[in-house]
């Protein structure tokens, strides 16, 4: 009797304890498919692809925290919880074991999901359930997603288990006997092998069912760009020629599609339309450029509009990869809580270091700061609010939600500016400083131009073989309108003064400028830590990374600034602890 009572009590307690486990509440809908029913035809395969991207969306928050909050441009407000503060201080030895933001588990869930889909695609192919073309495109896409996730894990954890088996139990990836940890360099080599082996490296063909618009979203830029990813992989591997080749393929991928404007505008960092301001350049009202009140600060015109405009012609000239969040679908947009001051929790804000970077620039009308500051950040009193993620949600002027239940937004993953800066980084390292400076400053055409010569036949072009072949001729007699003639350079498009290059040390100087330009142009978009780490590794100079984190921390009076700097001087402190918990 007594024994029974204890047993009963114990069982009740176990139930009680068990119920706090979150999985208990994951009630599957009754219509759920069982595995055997899932991969029958092309539509099932498409659903599986979309399902992978759905899971990928759940990594958005961590991706931005890892790549921006760990780096020097983004910091925490005093509303942030201690876990976020740990990431911002970036002392990896002091990160709590239960810090949910550094847990790589979700990343492995996506990887295992990819592995499962890839394995089933192979079975489908063997059973002839879809054509080789259909198989190649989908298989390559999912392989690219998996590679991207692994690259992120490698960048932030250094040593990670590399798993290609479809596992039902996520925890099984921790089996070190079966899945040894790969060092970053080993992982990178493996990822390059994986990606070079994929049978299809282009976007889905426009006739594919996966390219049909869904819920008003054009799907073309929804899928990862495999060539851009390959470019990144080779750039990490310091294989500059290969990197430049892949980047160049992306830059010219629309050259033979559509009309002339496809060729002139898409991924070309096109010049400003000064008379209409219908562009994505920094601009002012024409003939009123001296008046700071006429800065084009709008959701439909100018540089700022690229973050919130609909997927129109101009949007398509810039974005390479962008994933949407929509209130009607899961998962919910994590960025509004992180960034918005009204309707969100305003947990993160621009660092003083990032504001100083913008303030050290001069616009071409003499205004002594970079207008991208005011187009990326709004101020509430003395505190900055990052607006890149919330322009679809809040009003520019009042910063109040337009409709607090419409929490749409985008995960800004890849755009032309990043493509150009990384191409220029590769070109610069491959000996083509002048071309790199042209892409950075005022455009390829102008740096290879001779203004005194009206015949442009032999100028305004690089005269170099692929991938460094750029023809930017823009002449009237004889008439030329070459593919790159609208290229304005990143600083040209951003309306800031051009960098002066010291010829004696152009390689390092140009590279420094390219990385700084990425900060000015793409602050908070999730590539800053990558950039700092890549350069620090390439130069074998940890101070490149450590000094920048030090600047951020010391400017905000963080007493740990010196300590964190000296820790970051050794490579093992670049990597987050691999804490794996529920």
């Amino acid at each position: 009797m007594k024994k029974n009572f204890i047993y009963g009590l114990s069982v009740a307690l176990v139930c009680f304890v068990g119920s706090s486990c979150s999985k208990f509440l994951d009630v599957e809908p009754e219509e759920v498919l069982v595995k055997e029913q899932m991969y029958r035809n092309i539509y099932d395969a498409d659903a599986a692809v979309i399902g992978v991207y759905g899971k990928l969306l759940s990594l958005a928050e961590q991706h931005v925290l890892w790549n921006e909050l760990r780096a020097d441009l983004l910091t925490v407000t005093n509303r942030a919880n201690p876990y976020l503060q740990e990431i911002s201080t970036n002392d990896v030895g002091a990160i709590s074991a239960d810090n949910p933001y550094v847990n790589p588990r979700k990343f492995y869930e996506v990887i295992l999901n990819c592995n499962d889909v890839l394995a089933n695609f192979q079975i489908m192919r063997e059973e002839n359930k879809f054509t080789p073309e259909e198989y190649n495109q989908r298989y390559s896409d999912i392989m690219a997603v998996r590679t991207w996730v692994y690259l992120q894990l490698g960048i932030h954890f250094g040593r990670v288990p590399y798993v290609t088996d479809p596992l039902d139990d996520t925890d099984a990836v921790l089996d070190k006997g079966k899945y040894p940890l790969l060092e970053f360099e080993q992982l990178l080599a493996q990822l390059i092998t994986d990606m070079e082996a994929i049978p299809y490296k282009l976007l889905y063909a426009s006739t594919e069912s996966l390219m049909y618009a869904v819920d008003g979203y054009d799907m073309e830029r929804f899928y990862i760009n495999k060539q851009a990813l390959l470019g990144d992989l080779h750039l990490w591997n310091n294989d500059y020629q290969r990197a430049a080749e892949y980047y160049k393929l992306v830059m010219t991928s629309y050259d033979n599609l559509g009309n002339d404007n496809f060729r002139y505008d898409r991924y070309k960092i096109k010049w400003a339309e000064v008379s209409t301001n219908n562009d994505i350049a920094v601009g002012y009202l024409r003939y009123r450029e001296q008046d700071v009140r006429t800065l084009i600060n709008s959701k439909t015109q100018g540089w700022r509009s690229m973050f919130s405009r609909t997927q129109d012609v101009l949007w398509n000239t810039e974005w390479v990869w962008s994933l949407p969040f929509n209130s009607n679908f899961s998962p919910q947009n994590p960025f509004i809580s992180l960034f918005a001051a009204n309707g969100g929790d305003h947990l993160l804000k621009p660092s003083l270091e990032s504001l100083d970077l913008w303030n050290s620039q001069t616009q071409r009308n003499g205004v002594p700061y970079d207008a991208r500051r005011d187009l990326s950040v709004s101020m509430i009193g003395q505190e900055g609010v990052v607006s890149k993620y919330t322009d679809e949600f809040s009003d520019i002027g009042t910063m109040l939600p337009i409709d607090k239940f419409q929490r749409n937004g985008k995960w800004h993953l890849y755009r032309a500016a990043k493509l150009h800066l990384r191409f220029a980084e590769a070109a610069n390292r491959d000996g083509h400083h002048k071309l790199a400076v042209g892409l950075l400053n005022n455009g390829v055409g102008r740096i290879y131009d001779d203004p005194n010569q009206s015949d442009k036949t032999d100028i305004q072009q690089t005269h170099l073989p692929f991938p460094y072949d750029f023809d930017a001729r823009n002449g009237n007699n004889p008439h030329y309108r070459a593919t790159w003639h609208r290229n304005d350079g990143l600083r040209g498009r951003a309306y800031v003064t051009f960098r002066e290059i010291n010829p004696t040390d152009s390689l390092t100087q140009v590279e420094n400028y390219l990385i700084e330009e990425a900060a000015l142009e793409m602050a908070f978009e999730g590539s800053r830590w990558e950039d700092l780490l890549r350069i620090a590794m390439r130069r074998n100079d940890p101070s490149f990374l450590a000094d920048k984190i030090y600047e951020k921390l010391s400017k905000e009076g963080n007493p740990r600034a010196d300590a964190v700097r000296s820790k970051l001087m050794s490579r093992e402190n670049w990597y987050l602890p691999f804490n794996w918990e529920q």
Binding site: V14, V117, V292
Partner: protein, 505 residues
């Protein structure tokens, strides 16, 4: 856009079943142990916070506050006053209060003075009671408590209004009480002090502003707050406010009069002697009130008044200091503020124009620039507007009747040529034109000659001096060259600076 059915479709169900099975197998042996551990954990987990909670509420009983106070032997004298004043009815249990109870000795010391004055007694008792419960504040953060008397007392560093505690956090069902070592006799506010000392000339002048307007353009009287028509309360500081803190200096009658007479030459208001003298007095008192409370010991060497006048503090001139509920009064034996300190520069910002002689909005640019010291500034530039002698008008606050040195900072940095512009000073008040009495015009006071705007000059340029006869506002006008040629009729201005000069005689 993601069909949720497909999210995580790989094998969630299978792995889940597997876990259940694992649990079932181990059930027989492990469950009692786990159960016991859980019970232990629960006990450990719960007991700590509860203990803390209990400790925090030490002294808590369910008795009403009044009953607890009756039992407190050191409160007996204060309780007598509480009952006789009738304030005890406030503590009826419908609301929570905190009572700061002075011990019997300190109450006996003041009781005699309250005996025959019911109003003073009530105010005295209410000054010891605050709404809601306030536990002992041992931190250095000041908490301002508003007492039932309407006075606010600082509650900081384990003291209330500088009085220490002898017994703290005694709780009843409807409030708290603390025993304190001295009585909290309610102090006068600065406004009450002023009214009580209305015989002093300086105070009398401030009070006279209740009924007298310095300027005939005074605002419409506000029936809801009669005193806000007092220009001193409205513009310098509302001394009635118990939530603000002030330091107020009082000059001896002779010094106040002498100061006002000395300053009178700077105040020629419409050639009217009485009005001018009243304004001169106002100009003296406006720099004697500061919006922070400083005891004599804590006074800094220099204070800055609301109108940016630096006031040198000479502690040796302070003959008496009075502590008030909302600040301090210091009586000065002699005047310490030299006239020259009152003559502060007036700036007119180029980007804050009042009007234009022609519509040039499309050609008006508000620019941001960085000067050689790294300071950002905003200026105005009007360029390529095609108007000859284009005028931009500005306005100033009232300025003293004296001579002014005038400077501008005008940055010509986007043109390749030097151009000219000029500044004219006009009267603020309009008068009928001599040519056409129907038309109201502003007469010029002084017109400076056309002056070059040199290229890339970030320094101030001295334009010359002019004399303002009347104490009044003025209208500075910036005028472009008399040409419609673009590039030559450009106007640019960061600011105008007017430096008033001391009158020597």
């Amino acid at each position: 856009m993601i069909p949720s059915v497909l999210n995580g479709m790989n094998g969630t169900i299978d792995s889940y079943k597997y876990e259940i099975k694992k649990m079932m197998k181990k059930h027989h042996i492990l469950t009692p142990v786990i159960g016991l551990i859980c019970i232990l954990l629960l006990q450990v987990g719960c007991s700590d916070p509860w203990d803390e909670h209990a400790r925090e509420n030490e002294g808590l009983t369910n008795e009403p506050l009044l009953e607890r106070l009756d039992e407190e032997s050191e409160a007996s004298e204060f309780m007598k006053l509480l009952h006789s004043s009738g304030v005890d009815k406030v503590l009826d249990g419908n609301n929570a209060y905190t009572v700061f109870v002075p011990d019997n000795n300190s109450v006996q010391a003041v009781a005699a003075s309250l005996q025959n004055n019911a109003e003073a007694l009530e105010r005295f008792v209410k000054n010891h009671i605050a709404v809601s419960t306030h536990r002992l504040n041992a931190s250095a953060d000041t908490v301002r408590l508003t007492m039932l008397s309407g006075k606010t007392l600082d509650f900081v560093n384990s003291e209330i209004d500088g009085v220490a505690f002898s017994k703290t956090n005694q709780a009843g069902a409807d409030g708290l009480y603390h025993l304190i070592t001295d009585a909290l006799t309610p102090r006068q506010s600065l406004w009450e002090y002023l009214n009580e000392h209305a015989d002093e000339a300086q105070n009398a002048f401030i009070l006279s502003l209740n009924a007298y307007n310095l300027y005939d353009t005074a605002v419409v009287e506000d029936p809801a707050d009669y005193y806000l028509n007092n220009e001193f309360l409205r513009n310098v500081g509302d001394m009635r406010d118990e939530n603000q803190r002030f330091t107020y200096f009082v000059l001896k009658d002779a010094d106040f009069t002498a100061d006002a007479q000395q300053f009178l030459p700077y105040i020629n208001y419409r050639n009217h002697a009485d009005s001018s003298y009243a304004i001169s007095q106002y100009e003296i008192v406006k720099d004697l009130l500061f919006k922070q409370a400083y005891s004599k010991e804590n006074l800094p060497a220099m204070l800055l008044s609301a109108s940016e006048v630096s006031f040198p503090v000479d502690k040796s001139a302070i003959s008496q200091s009075v502590r008030l509920s909302n600040g301090w009064v210091h009586i000065l034996d002699r005047s310490t503020l030299p006239v020259v300190n009152k003559l502060v520069d007036t700036y007119v910002q180029g980007e804050e124009p009042w009007g234009f002689s022609a519509s040039v909005a499309e050609r008006t640019f508000h620019r941001v620039r960085k000067d050689p010291f790294g300071e950002l500034f905003t200026d105005i530039m009007i360029q390529n507007h095609g108007v000859s002698s284009l005028q931009v008008a500005y306005q100033t606050p009232r300025m003293y009747s004296t001579t002014y040195d005038v400077y501008w900072r005008a940055l010509n940095d986007v043109q390749a040529n030097v151009f000219q512009q000029q500044v004219g000073i006009f009267e603020f008040d309009t008068r009928p034109s001599e040519d056409n009495p129907e038309q109201e015009v502003r007469e010029p006071i002084y017109i400076f000659p056309y002056t070059n705007v040199e290229q890339n000059n970030y320094s101030e340029v001295y334009l010359g001096e002019f004399t303002l006869a009347d104490y009044n506002r003025i209208v500075p006008v910036l005028q472009g060259a008399a040409t419609t040629a673009n590039g030559n009729n450009t106007l640019v201005l960061d600011y105008l600076r007017f430096v008033p000069k001391l009158k020597t005689n």
